[in-house]
Symmetry: D2
Subunit: 231 residues, 4 copies
């Protein structure tokens, strides 16, 4: 796989996701992204309320939303259309995270509309077959995350390597060009290397960074491993 | 296509779906199914509350549920696990109808569990790409229904024939053996013939039968057309 | 409180809720209801797929649905309107069980429509304040169930007696005539007596009966206690 | 009623809600709020993605979120806990808008948690009885909006004045101090005056401002009417 590898950090709604702490992690991610510019992509998916502050200061990391709603602009109180992301120059969005699952038709709608508007979509799936289903909808990325491992610190790449391999196989049967990320329990550099060796283009992490004593060191460890695995 | 063609009737929650009227339509469907036994499959999808009475008397038509919940038996008040269908010898279930859409992971779970238990799944999709996504999950059937035509009496086979053709093409690219039904606005025999000529194995109808002055005559018209289109 | 006390059994989707087992428990409930006719009401809330078989044979117990959908008859695939209950002579329904929670406007709609159609509503609430909110909507009964005790076998009447008392107080401030049931962990006759002494008109149970080695003996124990507490 | 009257503007997801347009409307609301400081409260409820930019510049208008999720901080991808509002010094939030309805237990949870954190809640209800139910949960405000009039420009105060009067009556029976707002179709100053004469403390508007050729003039018209009706 000669694509640029990816480390994506999902802020979720962890206490460190908001305010000064969330901003500091964004600055750290940006710094590491600058160091590995052109070699590893660093994506941060941040809460809707933090998007504008973070998008304004981050230059080398790529800012995503954690979610976007399957709507067009209009009378939809408390929902976020893709235009809201466009207004902030946000590059993309997570879709269908295991903690925020969507109906099939909503995923279809979001991918179709985002693609038309130039917004990237990283669509999550719980299983290899669900990831293959997502592949038929042609998102930018698909990320497979066995929900039972999310937040455990037990890396999918070690506990269930066959899920990554099987996902890559089934996804590429439907959509040969679609890059696959692996997530759930990914914590250390070695987990990133393992995931990439199993066929993933990168990883999706959350608690590994958001709960780290030193988030910048942790991001650097993950990004450095992604670099090493591909060079 | 040398599969036996299918006419599937979705009772929905129309006033005629319940009590004596619902039972009479089931008897009519059963009678027509008997006449075309071996040549055309007649499926009726009926409300959960009518399943036991209808399943008890119907012999040649195939009885489906309109929905099943993505759960295992247990503490789930007011939800219907697949075991509830098994207890009534119900053969299969609609899944993800446009009026009762499910999350991708729920569709994945239901198909996986139903297949393991020998229950058929007819999974609906709004678009050709969503149908291709469903195909990756290997249901028994996939039914494409553009929601804007449902209940209109404007048949998808005439208003949007390209959706049927495109669905068949995209679905078979993912899963070459998966039979595709077409639905939305299908009302007369000619609509059934058109759908089958476009590559569908049959049709999914609702108001055409449930609101017909003579439901039996309407079922016979649709089934007869399915027979004609394949012989 | 000189109302007739109530023991309500929620079948949920336990393995014993379906087929012959579910029917046998209904017959047991009916038998006990006959023994205490006029002195204690026995309500059984059963799965939608079992309603017709059970409603047909039960005479003295009162049959409820576990859920009804907030819809009018029409194009609503896989949803159950109140008319479906009417068609089976079902007397009432649970609403908003902790495992099947509804939007406020849906509860409002269901109570309004059920009342107009002569269908009883037993509306569940998680907290005393939520029960008071329900009281403003004038259901037939309100049942308070702290979700953290549901299915534990630790009776609310012993673990959190203040919730029952507080619910009765807040509910009666809004709606002085509304009978309050208590649920969650209620298992033995003494729990029923305690709940009634705390101001409840009766109890809502599930696993205590559905998982009992001898469901009939368990129902009789609960009903006998309700009788004793009020005579 | 000698409370300070309120004009609340819900941005929804209208095209004017985002970016420079949304900011300009906030500045206009702030300007009018300054002119009527101490006499009329001006609240603006804005999209999550715009909260930080708007909260930073607005001084006299009161900034609310359009929605907050019923969660505590943690692993909840794409959801917004109350802490996210606190981090931006946002004063309050709409809850349960007709376009974003919540389960009863979620409304209960949100009001309880917001109150504990010093965040105001303006909880919407579709009917007078639902508003009375909300009153039992003790929010900061309750807003009644018959959904069939929302966005029509036909003011509830003229089309259904009895809904406002009835809501005020039922709400105050449960919670005598709770201020009631009226919404749906409110467009002109005379609608505000009518609503206040009917017992409301103010109005909740959206399209009247968000689609106005001159939003500032429209806000001033509404606020001026609220002032007139109470002085």
């Amino acid at each position: 796989m000669n694509m640029v590898p990816v480390v994506a950090v999902n802020y979720k709604a962890y206490p460190t996701a908001f305010g000064e702490k969330g901003l500091a992690i964004a600055m750290s991610a940006d710094k590491v992204a600058r160091e590995y510019s052109g070699s590893v992509k660093v994506i941060i998916a941040v809460p809707a309320t933090e998007l504008s502050r973070i998008a304004e200061v981050v230059e080398d990391a790529i800012v995503y939303a954690e979610h976007v709603d399957p709507i067009e602009p209009g009378a939809h109180t408390g929902f976020i259309p893709m235009e809201a992301l466009k207004a902030l120059d946000v590059r993309g969005t997570l879709v269908n995270h295991s903690e925020h699952q969507l109906k099939l038709s909503e995923i279809d709608f979001i991918i179709r509309r985002a693609t038309a508007m130039g917004i990237e979509t990283m669509v999550c799936a719980d299983t290899a077959t669900a990831a293959a289903a997502v592949a038929a909808l042609s998102p930018t990325w698909v990320a497979v995350e066995p929900p039972e491992l999310i937040g455990t610190g037990i890396p999918v790449s070690r506990a269930k390597p066959e899920i990554i391999m099987n996902t890559v196989k089934l996804v590429h049967r439907v959509n040969p060009e679609l890059p696959v990320l692996a997530g759930a329990g990914i914590t250390r550099g070695e987990d990133v290397e393992a995931a990439i060796r199993l066929g993933a283009v990168g990883v999706l992490v959350a608690s590994a960074v958001m709960k780290a004593p030193d988030p910048e060191a942790r991001i650097r460890e993950l990004v450095e491993a992604a670099y090493r695995a591909t060079h």
